[in-house]
Amino acid sequence: MITMIAFYVFAAILVASAALVVSARNPVHSVLFLILAFFNAAGLFLLNGAEFLAMILVIVYVGAVAVLFLFVVMMLDVNFVELREGVQRYAPIGAMVGLVLFVELLMVIGGWRFAPAMPTLRAAPTQTNVQNTAALGDALYTHNVLLFQLAGLVLLVAMIGAIVLTLRDRSVSRRQVIARQIARSADLSLEMVPMALNAGTPATSFRRPLPEPVAHEASAAHHGAVHHGEEH
């Protein structure tokens, strides 16, 4: 009984907040509703005994992804009203295409033949004496270890690609070179200026710092530089 009530509460809030994610005018509100939707989905997972997925959903999606979304929405000043302008114009055609696809899908599903053992299989996806987390670990690291490692390589390639295509080692960037900071001597930055009493500061007392020796500059170009040969 209590499970039933909990299910309907979680499900209702999930559907409502999902609808608000797409309909909210303010993008920040959309992200906040998304977080609410994640929490309720986690609740649904818990009800089904998938405690590991519930935890992961909260930690990864709420903790990292949603916050990242929030940052992106706040930092990139995207004009969402402008983005939505096309919706009204394309809605009829989009709806028509969707409807056709839906009807086709229904026709396909009409021919679906379920395995006789399906209801029992669905009711007990894993053995009862194996914990949810352990079962997932078994699937990922024992039975599908090849796929798991391949997925890791795909992510590695994505990372290399992002770096290759975007990272530029600009000469104007002001990065910290600790060796240069330590090597800087007082002669370069300090100068004693004789001051007369009650005479105000002479104009010459304001000086720019002396330029760095050039030799340091050349060797510093290699520090932390990941990419070479770009400034051609």
Partner: protein, 473 residues
């Protein structure tokens, strides 16, 4: 679990990461050493593959069999030659960076997984590993507008194709109840179980794979991407990924979907005919040689698809032979194209080849061999590729395909011969720059293979025959 069967892949993955690390840590320019190490890793991997035994591993997700060995050796050769071709070009185009060989290496790893896939999931992950690497390679000259456009175009359309493929895979899984190729084949063995849902799924899988091999009508991206990408990358695109995708295509169609041959045969025939016709006709008007090669490769894929449409052992054998022949012709042609430089600038139009016969007889001779071979003139290797494909078609009763294939190769011969005419009979322009030794090596090696294939075809034919036996015992 017999992980030892995937030792070549494991070694390649680890050496890829090692080379990446070396490139990041090493001060100064690491491109040269990383490229050499990549070639060494590819050669090592080939040795390991030859020495490895056959069988399924990782619960059937990975298959080591004669098909995969044949395809992997071809892929490794194509990748190694591509890295070799890139050395000089990247240096002069100021895009020499150590990530280039590393990305080629990871793309190669993805392709090896594709041809070894025994499961829809390993198929997809291999395909994505390959695709992601080559999207980045297409945009590698990132300050060049055309290269960036090529990368973006390839990425967007490739993502769409991956989506279609995944949708198809999910439908096939839903209706057959298995991800394993063996399981799917078992489920579809009963004709009554081939429901509309499975057929829709198969059609989507064909769509996704046809995009990856650039068969008509999913070829739109090919000319733009081939023209825009840096030339060594184009040479790579035209060879290794084509082999991987075609072998995967053949394995999926003839393995798990083999029992549904009647359902998909017409579809493949249509794609094949359309590719051959477009490849022959659209190439005629081209002035840019990279664009011309793009249409040429579309046409070649049409011929390979004839073999798949046969759906039998002879068909699979002809697919493998054609791919082996095609890879070396295509790489050789690109070695010549890469040698087209005047005063340090790469030139790409067919008219720039004018007078090559007088300025550089050796290079012109190599190009002549490749062009005659692509046109299918005996006794060059291209003739044998076409011969076995048409033979398989006739044996399977697909007369229409064979006749159209012969006709389109006659039409195609026009533009291949035109290049030869430009080289030998047109008014010579100024000579090209001195060509890099690596280009000469690749052009000579592929030229020798293409010319003398007819003297010693047995190793390739026997390997293809053994591979065909895997699926058709």
């Amino acid at each position: 679990m017999n992980w030892f069967l995937s030792l070549p892949e494991i070694v390649l993955a680890l050496s890829g990461m090692g080379i990446l690390l070396l490139g990041v840590v090493k001060r100064g320019d690491a491109t040269q050493i990383c490229s050499m190490l990549t070639i060494a890793a590819l050669v090592l991997c080939a040795v390991l593959i030859v020495g490895n035994s056959f069988g399924p591993a990782f619960e059937g997700q990975f298959l080591a069999d004669p098909i995969s060995v044949f395809a992997k050796l071809l892929i490794l050769a194509a990748s190694a030659f591509s890295v070799l071709l890139s050395l000089d070009f990247n240096e002069r185009a100021h895009i020499a960076r150590f990530e280039f060989p590393v990305l080629v290496l990871f793309a190669t790893l993805g392709m090896m997984m594709m041809v070894s896939a025994g499961n829809m999931m390993s198929l997809y992950l291999g395909l994505e590993l390959q695709s992601l690497s080559i999207y980045v390679l297409a945009a590698f000259a990132r300050d060049d507008l055309r290269s960036a456009e090529a990368g973006l175009k390839y990425f967007v359309l490739g993502a769409l194709a991956s989506g279609l493929l995944l949708y198809g895979i999910s439908l096939v899984y839903g209706f057959s109840g298995s991800m394993d190729f063996v399981g799917i084949a078992h489920a579809l063995a009963d004709p009554a179980s081939v429901s509309p849902g499975v057929i829709v799924g198969i059609v989507f899988v064909i769509t996704g794979l046809a995009f990856k091999v650039a068969a008509v009508p999913f070829h739109m991206w090919t000319p733009d991407v081939y023209e825009g990408a840096p030339t060594p990358v184009t040479a790579f695109f035209g060879t290794a990924p084509k082999v991987a995708a075609m072998v995967l295509f053949a394995r999926v169609m003839m393995g798990p979907f083999g029992h549904a041959l009647g359902q998909w045969q017409t579809l493949i025939e249509t794609i094949s005919i359309a590719s051959m016709i477009l490849g022959a006709l659209a190439a005629i008007g081209q002035t840019n040689i990279k664009r011309l090669m793009a249409y040429s490769s579309i046409g070649h894929m049409g011929y390979v698809l004839i073999g798949i449409a046969c759906g039998n052992a002879a068909g699979l054998r002809s697919v493998l032979i054609y791919l082996a022949v095609y890879v070396f012709m295509f790489l050789g042609t690109f070695a010549v194209i890469l040698a087209m430089r005047r005063r340090g600038e790469a030139v790409e139009t067919i008219a720039d080849l004018a007078g090559l016969g007088r300025n550089d007889p050796a290079l012109a001779l190599a190009m002549t061999v490749f062009m005659f071979s692509m046109a299918g003139i005996p006794p060059l290797s291209g003739f044998f590729g076409k011969l076995y494909v048409f033979l398989a078609a006739v044996q399977s009763g697909l007369w229409g395909l064979a006749v159209i294939g012969v006709l389109t190769s006659v039409v195609g011969a026009f533009y291949y011969l035109r290049i030869i005419k430009v080289m030998y009979f047109d008014e010579p322009g100024s000579a090209f720059d001195r060509r890099a030794p690596s280009l000469s090596v690749v052009a000579a090696a592929t030229g020798i293979f293409t010319t003398f294939f007819f003297l010693l075809p047995a190793p390739v034919l026997n390997a293809a025959q053994a591979a065909a036996k895997v699926l058709f015992g």
